[in-house]
Symmetry: C2
Subunit: 380 residues, 2 copies
């Protein structure tokens, strides 16, 4: 027996009680039973998104919900500012390009962030910009962007703020209404600790106004139509029923823990992971504001980071993730989001010690683990 | 205890072994393990679609895959012929309208079909038509359209044939390559007896040529990009991993039964259901070519069909479906697709006897069941 550990930045482990809830016999989506399920889930989602607006489910990966956010709020020829400091920032640009939306990239080196001041200056320079598109947690670099600061500059502007919170919902605080974020996009397979295949668009009042005039073609991703259907008690298209059943379980778990505790847990695990990685002499890839969802670390000089993840997999049966795009070979990424607790990150760091040793690197065994434990004691 | 039965025309019951396969710990989609899973599943899907072309998975409901078929093969201003003889035929039109594709509807009353000759005449009258869009099994009316006949007239024309096989894949014979169908769309929650949330586009060589020149905007549904990613061993976007794991189980089950036997089983169950319904004095809604996936029956004079499904639910804990759109109140629909066997349809018909009696209709108890049994004996 070689025990398996999934420690990638999504999909994340699914709790056994949630797996079993989803393994219950299939129910139909046009029944009073499903309607009751949706009513409970929708109320829980609103609390989780920290909003009073409707959270519209989309049966797709997170990228589908990103595209839904674009096609429902913009028109061809519109200009959007895009915070591009990682692979998912690039994805916003690719989606816009596919739909004839002009993008103004606000570029930062991968691992860095773009300040709210830069966004404010760009808005001043592009007063016709209709939207600012950004990530909250940029999963490719492990950086947490300053959504709160950006929202403070967009809320008084003509641009709506659209935030990809796929790897921050139920991980890092994102007060949609209080901060003034107009659209929040999320997925099921990260902080929600569910299988991938269900995503969400929470659409605030300023954004709903845009939906009424946005002219990009949409059918499957038509959020206004879906909202009308749901208001009448059933979804337009057949939803991801099983994941929705699992979501009810997850929302109950998160409510029981309390949202503030959920954020604190992730921050604690992230801090411990960073301390462990640095205690082993490695440097973090995130130069600013590391994300509580994952830790991206730079491979030691002379070591291909792909070797590190292969060793994690072959010697220890642990799945972590490598670098994407230009970061491939340089970076490896440890996820600590969702159904994750202290001894998971301790395991990840202990395995890192073993992996570095196997790759011929000098390792002071226990140094990483000790740093992890110190964080636990201090944060206790 | 009130035993529950799901007998709607999708989602359908999921076999317990498949539920448990999907309840296994989550795996990551960029690993050798997932690649091996996809290679097995893709080979099985090709056999199931009866094609040598690539079957591209789409994480969405069936409607998402319908839209994917349109946006990948057509351009704004193109003309498409649409077989419109039910709610899902209307859906093709709605998708085209959303994208600026002009439709020429080939209309038949709900419950009827459109002959291949009419399609040939329409193609002759619209030589610029770029596509014919149709359902194989029209789930709203219970009619099986003549895909083979239509393919015979489209394959020599400038129009590609795009078939919605959501409720016919693994239910009714659809020989994509042999008949010359260009795109086949399907979903997970019907004949594949999986939860909803995974769909497919099988794209033949004539259609791939179209993809290269089709100009409708697409990103999440970009089938050519997804095909390139999969050829390199991983998906572009995070897929519906759990359903994909379940699909491997289902494909093994279907292979073991044999595709011809799968079709024969559905035909037998459909014939038995129709015999049972008619023996109780009700008439079928499908005037031509009833689908082996479901039986749509007309409620007795003076009875609202919504009452029939409510009774099925409240008295017998059985979920069936009602009529959609203009058929609401007139029609009820019994599904017999996927993980369904003789005694399921016998139960559905026995319950219909009870339901009609409860609604004050005269019932010769056992007449429906007897007719079902006779079909079983004759078909044995």
């Amino acid at each position: 027996m070689k025990k398996y550990y999934l420690m990638a930045p999504g999909p994340t482990p699914v709790p056994a009680n949630v797996l079993l809830a989803m393994a219950q016999p299939m129910i139909h989506h046009r029944t009073p039973e499903y309607e009751a399920l949706w009513i409970e889930v929708h109320a829980g989602l609103k609390r989780l998104f920290q909003t009073t607006t409707d959270v519209i489910p989309v049966t797709s990966s997170g990228t589908g919900a990103m595209e839904a956010a674009v096609v429902n709020t913009l028109s061809a020829g519109d200009t959007a500012l895009v915070v591009r400091a990682g692979k998912f920032g690039e994805r916003w640009e690719e989606i816009c390009r596919a739909h004839g939306v002009t993008t103004v990239p606000l570029v930062a080196p991968f691992g860095a962030t773009v300040s709210a001041e830069r966004v404010a200056a760009a808005l001043a320079g592009h007063p016709g910009a209709r939207a600012v598109l950004m990530q909250h947690s940029e999963s490719s670099t492990g950086v947490l962007h300053d959504v709160r600061g950006v929202a403070a500059v967009t809320r008084g502007s003509a641009a709506i703020l659209v935030v990809d919170a796929v790897s921050s919902l139920a991980i890092a605080d994102l007060a949609m209404d209080a901060w003034g974020v107009d659209v929040v996009v999320a997925g099921s397979q990260k902080g929600l600790m569910l299988p991938p295949g269900l995503a969400f668009c929470a659409v605030g009042p300023r954004a709903w106004e845009r939906v009424a005039t946005a002219r990009l073609p949409r059918y499957y991703f038509d959020l206004a139509a879906e909202r009308q259907w749901l208001a009448r008690g059933e979804p337009h298209f057949t939803p991801a029923v099983a994941i929705m059943v699992g979501l009810r379980e997850v929302l109950r778990m998160l409510e029981q823990e309390g949202l503030d505790n959920v954020f604190r847990r992730h921050e604690r695990l992230a801090r411990a992971t960073r301390a462990g990685v640095e205690a082993l002499g490695l440097s973090l890839f995130a130069r600013a504001a590391p994300s509580p969802a994952l830790t991206a670390a730079v491979a030691p000089a002379g070591v291909d980071s792909e070797q590190i993840l292969r060793r994690y997999a072959t010697s220890h049966n642990i799945t972590i993730a490598g670098g994407q795009g230009e970061m491939k070979g340089r970076v490896f990424r440890l996820g600590h989001m969702g159904y994750v607790a202290d001894y998971d990150v301790l395991t990840a760091v202990a395995a890192l010690e073993q992996v570095l040793h196997e790759l011929g690197q000098p390792v002071d065994f226990g140094a990483g683990v000790r740093a992890v434990q110190k964080v636990f004691v201090e944060a206790a």
